[in-house]
Symmetry: C2
Subunit: 209 residues, 2 copies
């Protein structure tokens, strides 16, 4: 029997006290990361300091610095958080498979690139291209998310990558999705985007069959 | 005969003095704009102040402020400069037409989105999405460059836009080019990009014929 499962009342009281504290700490951390991402998406790197993020999260600056001593610590963790959220959103798209509906798959993939997670990622990429402290971690995580996105897209589209050109066809589709995300940065591009997606889903159907 | 073309020697001396001064002034302005674009591409919005740009251009801070009293003046002019350079680069691609070589056209269009002008434009877009003073002008110029890019792409590809889907096919291609530019921001993506371009140029050939 380990110390953790003993029935010693002192130990039990200690555990009861400790678990909620860990929960609170985890909740605070999550709030800070979500606020960091929202700040990045709305105010960019220049407007995203630890103080601004702490205020947005409703956390004291001291508590924020306890979790993330420096701005780079905070945003490196935010990069990982965004990467995980993007992977999760991707895996959640069609939990039962896409049943051959390629237009639905293309629409869903493109939607991932026009939401707030893409905006935050875009700010991170641009900030990382100028900030040596962010760049290696962002590049590494981006490569991981990119590989995962490609793998899931291939699966949902029912694409046979052993056939020549199929791999590049799917890659080009994801590049288009990224470009559509960028086109949505300054204006609401939804009506045009819907038409482009319909047309390219049809081209893709021809190329993959 | 206008005052400008009189033979009065005082006037002539004045002209001789004035013309080079105007040239110098124009050259200084151009140097400042080129330096502003280079700064934006390399250091982002946060690192691009009037002082930094003036130093890079080899111009005194006072002279820089004579041309551009505020940072917004400088970067609004830089936005226009980038837009004009991008239009010029586009028109210069195939001065004699593309002679039906669609892969060459796709390659050339994609190249436009992976060079320093795209990097500078990307920094501007991201900065403009957060800076109310930049946003309207950047959005307006981006729409203009977008329309011109589309028109030139249609012409070079020999695309018949009266056929259903052709307009959206070309738009999707330009979105893909933009996404490929973004993929090149953090790492050198050239080998992968070449394969994607080859495959999509082939798909495009099928879709446009």
């Amino acid at each position: 029997m380990s110390a953790v499962t003993t029935d010693d009342p002192v130990d039990r009281a200690d555990r009861a006290d400790r678990v909620p504290k860990q929960d609170r700490s985890r909740a605070t951390r999550q709030r800070l990361l979500a606020a960091a991402v929202a700040c990045l998406a709305e105010r960019g790197w220049a407007g995203s300091t630890v103080s601004v993020v702490a205020e947005r999260a409703g956390v004291s600056r001291g508590a924020a610095q306890h979790h993330f001593p420096t701005r780079e610590d905070l945003f490196t963790a935010a990069v990982e958080y965004v990467a995980e959220e993007r992977s999760g959103a991707l895996r959640a798209l069609f939990p039962e498979g896409a049943a051959g509906d390629r237009r639905a798959v293309v629409t869903a993939l493109v939607d991932l690139y026009t939401g707030p997670l893409f905006r935050a990622a875009l700010h991170l990429w641009v900030a990382a291209s100028d900030e040596e402290q962010l760049r290696p971690r962002v590049t590494e995580l981006e490569a991981r998310v990119g590989r995962e996105t490609h793998r899931i897209a291939v699966e949902l589209l029912g694409a046979d990558e052993t056939r020549p050109g199929v791999r590049e066809t799917v890659q080009g589709l994801l590049d288009m999705a990224r470009g559509l995300g960028l086109a949505n940065l300054l204006t609401d591009d939804a009506p045009r985007r819907d038409r482009v997606v319909a047309q390219w889903a049809a081209l893709l159907d021809g190329a993959l069959d």
